[in-house]
Amino acid sequence: MDKIRALIVDDSSVMRKIVERSLRQAGIDLDKVVEASNGAEALVALQNNVVDLILCDINMPVMDGLEFVRQVHTVDSAKDVPIVMITTEGSESHVVQALTAGARGYIRKPFTPDQVKEHVLPLLGKKS
């Protein structure tokens, strides 16, 4: 599998580490992991880093994950990057909002590494 550059957006540094570990456990060879603690930081990070995959929480201060997904198309290099939401918000309306805004996957917390594998690998063109 090609090396993957990932952006992980969550206001919890613990959760960012867990998401990164889950990606590695899914067999994803991570070349680089960029971290951001809210949507606004993530948009800045995307100006300075090209990534292949974005994993994003919803409930965050400053700019939440849904707004981030709505604005990500403003960064040319990130327009087509698959985004997977990882969040405690499990309602159908949140799922619909996220997918309508452009997210390609939705994982509810708490989650297992297998769920990350199942949702992320197909987006990278790999079998889960």
Binding site: S12, T88, E89, S91, K109, P110, T112
Partner: protein, 160 residues
């Protein structure tokens, strides 16, 4: 059984307690790979330590709190992160996330409620010399679970 008793509806507290317990157990099982079981009613509650707080607003208005001793919070953080969890900042962050997931898992189990209820970002209080005065003073349920033989208290306070 009398007709009146047969028609009696369980109180919200009776309905919520098993849902809160299941929601909490699932979070511990999935994130830490361990089972937590209810403590004996006479078991001591955790004192001092850390209390994580997540607010609920909308159809459900109130707070969920998760309280445990410092050593227990450290074990929870290590369960989530492995031995890399060593700073108090990470311990606090881990406890806040656990409370966040319990609150989210709880509301996601209430049919029709999850659509109209949002969570706050978590806050964590350290130390035991405080009183929590929630504006959502009303229904309250609390359960104490044992995590590696140490008590962990989960409390739900909802506005009437």
């Amino acid at each position: 059984m009398t007709a009146g008793a047969a028609c009696a509806k369980p109180s919200p507290e009776q309905n919520w307690l098993p849902i809160l317990e299941r929601a909490t157990q699932e979070v511990f099982e999935i994130m830490l790979g361990c089972q937590v079981k209810p403590a004996e009613p006479a078991a001591p509650k955790p004192k001092g330590g850390f209390t994580a707080i997540v607010g609920l607003a909308g159809a459900l208005c109130g707070v969920v709190t998760l309280c445990c001793a410092p050593q227990t919070a450290g074990q929870i953080a290590k369960g989530m992160l492995g031995d890399t969890a060593d700073s108090e900042r990470e311990v606090v962050d881990a406890l806040g996330e656990m409370c966040n997931m319990i609150a989210g898992n709880f509301k996601n189990k209430l049919a029709g409620t999850d659509e109209r209820c949002v969570l706050s970002v978590p806050s964590v209080v350290s130390g035991g010399e405080y009183s929590l005065h929630s504006m959502a003073d009303g229904h309250s349920v609390e359960l104490v679970l044992l995590f590696e033989n140490a008590p962990v208290a989960v409390c739900l306070q909802l506005k009437r």
